[in-house]
């Protein structure tokens, strides 16, 4: 199949050996790649209910066709594994030239198995695979690690995905980064890498995968790059949404208990963010949008922070959720989290949880080591350090927030804001009911990326996919549909391994994605057929969840999400009709009333091979 090598590289860390397998073209056509293809491989090769941090787990990196030429947004990679927080399906995505390089090295998929006896990093250099001693970089932060690897390999162009000290320490919110610049943040994939004594994977490739119409694809890629850049230029990155989302009531405030934060949002969102932090746009390779923010700012202690600035999610979970409007403090904490390799979303959730548990009398100052406060940088820095290292009060999060609530007891689980042990990201489901269903049903736990219903509240929708308008955000009757359709589109980007901002910020359409696909593979897909590949991926991911013991009883909302605001953009609103919304969603997916995919829907999706796996 054009656009694919149809090749899987399998690396065995136990034996330090590797082999290659041929990918089934049938499933490349049905799933396209990325998170859907990764789900199929995980389902095929990893048994249910294993310990994610055991050698039995596998780590799968799956690409799509986008890396065949320089399509805009193609510097995107997806990692699929069993995650340590949910114990079930996890996919997480990051950006970086690593993805196109893996394709150029001659592979569509990389599978890591077993566990190395000693810390190691892998160098994939076209057909040559090296297992290199990582003892000199074990313990180094993510940015230092990348620098040392490039020096050791003698080429700055080589990209390496790596983990920081948090991943080495099996922190369940550890992430995987590409050169310390972008992060596969959610769900703890970094801990899985750490459990295998795998510090990094560097890659270099020189080959061109066969493409159906190479000249046509390159021409389209160039046109789209120019147009999307023209559309998006001058934007302020993800911090642009802080103020408008706060007005909608979407931003988390005081760990989901607050209603409004107008002044605070203006303090940490754009335009103040841009001027205070001396921002420059920091594009990924092949990206016309440039959403990442490079900042250069003098901190209170006189040191200079020159590097990645906080994204919206970090502003939400380390800023508004903690009532902290000190942008320099947030930037400093963000940098430490990046270097350590932890997810800032869950980090912020854990800090908010501790503060509220203290206020509720569940944990003492003595146990915490300080008096934690809202809008307090000392609280942020102290607790961040403890959580990253899993030391002191931080040690209670060894098994995520549910584990912490079990240790604290006293009803503290009612304070925790999570689904399936993954903390809610910085979008309030009381502001967009479709998000409530999305969080409850996302296969990796509460997630705003495996489904973007919050984008519908801003007005984003897909007229070329049989939509007349975005669903009304407080309409209980369309919430199930909202989750369904925005999951399908999000999943498509993850299957392609393409950055969603090509669509959300650049104005790329699903129709145009079909053109990219046709020129690359030679195959026509209608827009609805493209979304069908998403439905397949979601069905496979759900099947993994089901085999791990998850079902409707786990598709829940945190108790706080039923408490409506008194004032602000979501005043008086909460998804109290949640059960009916969930029923609607299940019907759209073709699942039964317990949220289990049926044989009928698997047949309709051409996934008959997986019917025997149904309970």
């Amino acid at each position: 199949m054009y656009g694919y090598w149809e090749k899987l590289l399998r690396i065995n860390l136990t034996n330090h050996t590797f082999t290659t397998d041929t990918l089934d073209e049938k499933y490349l056509k049905l799933l396209l790649g990325g998170a859907a293809l990764g789900a199929k491989i995980l389902l095929d090769e990893v048994k249910p209910k294993i310990d994610p941090l055991s050698p039995e787990n596998k780590i799968i990196f799956a690409l799509g066709f986008m890396q065949s030429v320089n399509f805009p947004g193609n510097a995107k990679w997806t990692v699929v594994t069993k995650g340590p927080l949910t114990g079930s399906f996890l996919d997480s995505a990051g950006t970086g030239a690593w993805a196109p390089q893996l394709k150029k090295a001659g592979y569509d998929v990389l599978v890591i198995e077993g566990k190395s006896e000693n810390p190691v990093y892998i160098f994939i250099n076209d057909d040559k695979i090296e297992f290199r001693d990582a003892s000199s970089i074990w313990g180094k932060d993510t940015i230092e690690t990348s620098k040392i690897i490039k020096e050791e390999l003698g080429d700055k162009r080589i990209n390496a995905i790596n983990i920081g000290p948090a991943g080495e320490n099996l922190n369940p919110i550890a992430c995987i980064t590409c050169d310390g610049h972008s992060f596969a943040g959610r769900g703890g994939a970094g801990a899985v890498m750490g459990s295998k004594n795998l510090k990094a994977i560097a890659v270099w490739g020189t080959k061109q995968v066969p493409v159906s119409n190479l000249e046509g694809a390159q021409k389209l890629a160039k046109e789209l790059m120019g147009r999307l850049h023209e559309t998006a230029k001058g934007g302020g990155g993800t911090p642009d949404v802080m103020v408008p989302l706060e007005e909608l009531g979407d931003v988390p405030i005081k760990y989901w208990r607050g209603d409004i934060w107008h002044h605070g949002a203006k303090m940490i969102g754009t335009p103040r963010y841009t001027s205070l932090l001396n921002v420059k746009s920091l594009p990924c390779q092949n990206c016309p949008i440039g959403c990442h923010r490079h900042i250069n700012v003098t901190l209170k202690d006189g040191s200079i922070l020159d590097g990645n600035g906080p994204e919206y999610e970090t502003l939400g979970m380390l800023g508004s959720s903690l009532l902290l409007d000190d942008l320099k403090a947030i930037a400093s904490a963000n940098d430490k989290a990046n270097r350590s390799g932890v997810d800032t979303v869950s980090l912020g959730s854990y800090i908010g949880f501790i503060i509220e548990c203290y206020e509720s009398g569940f944990i003492s100052e003595e146990k915490i080591g300080m008096v934690p406060r809202w809008n307090d940088e000392e609280t942020l820095f102290f607790l961040e350090d403890k959580i990253i290292k899993l030391q002191g009060i931080g040690s209670i999060f060894r098994k995520g927030i549910r584990g912490a609530a079990e240790i604290i007891g006293q009803g503290s689980s009612s304070i925790a804001v999570e689904v399936k042990n993954l903390d809610l990201p910085a979008h309030d489901p009381r502001a967009v009911y479709g998000l409530a269903v999305n969080y409850a049903t996302s296969p990796r736990g509460a997630c705003h990326e495996r489904g973007n219903p919050q984008a519908s509240a801003l007005g984003l929708f897909y007229p070329d996919c049989e939509m007349d308008c975005p669903p009304e955000r407080f309409d209980e009757n369309s919430a199930g549909y909202c989750a369904y359709i925005y999951q399908n589109t999000s999943m498509l980007y993850n299957n392609l391994t393409m950055c969603k901002f090509m669509v959300n910020n650049g104005g790329l359409t699903i129709t145009e994605i079909g053109k990219e696909l046709k020129l690359t593979t030679g195959i026509d897909y209608t827009n609805m057929e493209l979304l069908k590949t998403s439905e397949r991926g979601i069905a496979l991911q759900r099947l993994i969840n089901v085999r791990d013991g998850l079902s409707r009883k786990d598709d829940t909302l945190p108790p706080k999400m039923l408490q409506a605001a008194i004032i602000g953009g979501r005043a008086g609103k909460s998804p109290i009709g949640f059960n009916n919304m969930l029923d609607d969603y299940y019907k759209l997916r073709g699942w039964d009333e317990n949220g289990i995919p049926t044989a009928k829907i698997l047949e309709e999706l051409d996934l008959q091979d997986y019917i025997p796996l149904l309970p």
Binding site: T238, D240, V241, G459
Partner: protein, 78 residues
């Protein structure tokens, strides 16, 4: 006549709306830009994309009778 609808946070930048939420105007032979300049869309300071009959078009596209124009804000966080 052509029909235009702005969505999401751009909705209140439309000069007028009929009962179905459309701004109906004689746009035949005019560019998309000429019509948008009659609205308050610049005040929103938000990027947007324009589709005509569900197909993306540049703002120098010349409209025909019965065209339906959809204006979608491009503003998305993480």
């Amino acid at each position: 006549m052509v029909k235009i609808k702005f969505f999401g946070i751009l909705t209140n930048k439309m000069p007028k709306k009929d009962e179905k939420g459309y701004w109906v105007i004689d746009g035949k032979g005019k560019t998309i830009k000429e019509l948008l300049d009659l609205s308050l869309i610049k005040e929103a300071n938000v990027k947007y994309t324009v589709l005509v009959n569900n197909e993306r078009k540049d703002t120098d596209y010349i409209l025909e009778d019965d065209d339906i124009i959809t204006v979608i804000p491009l503003l998305a966080g993480g």
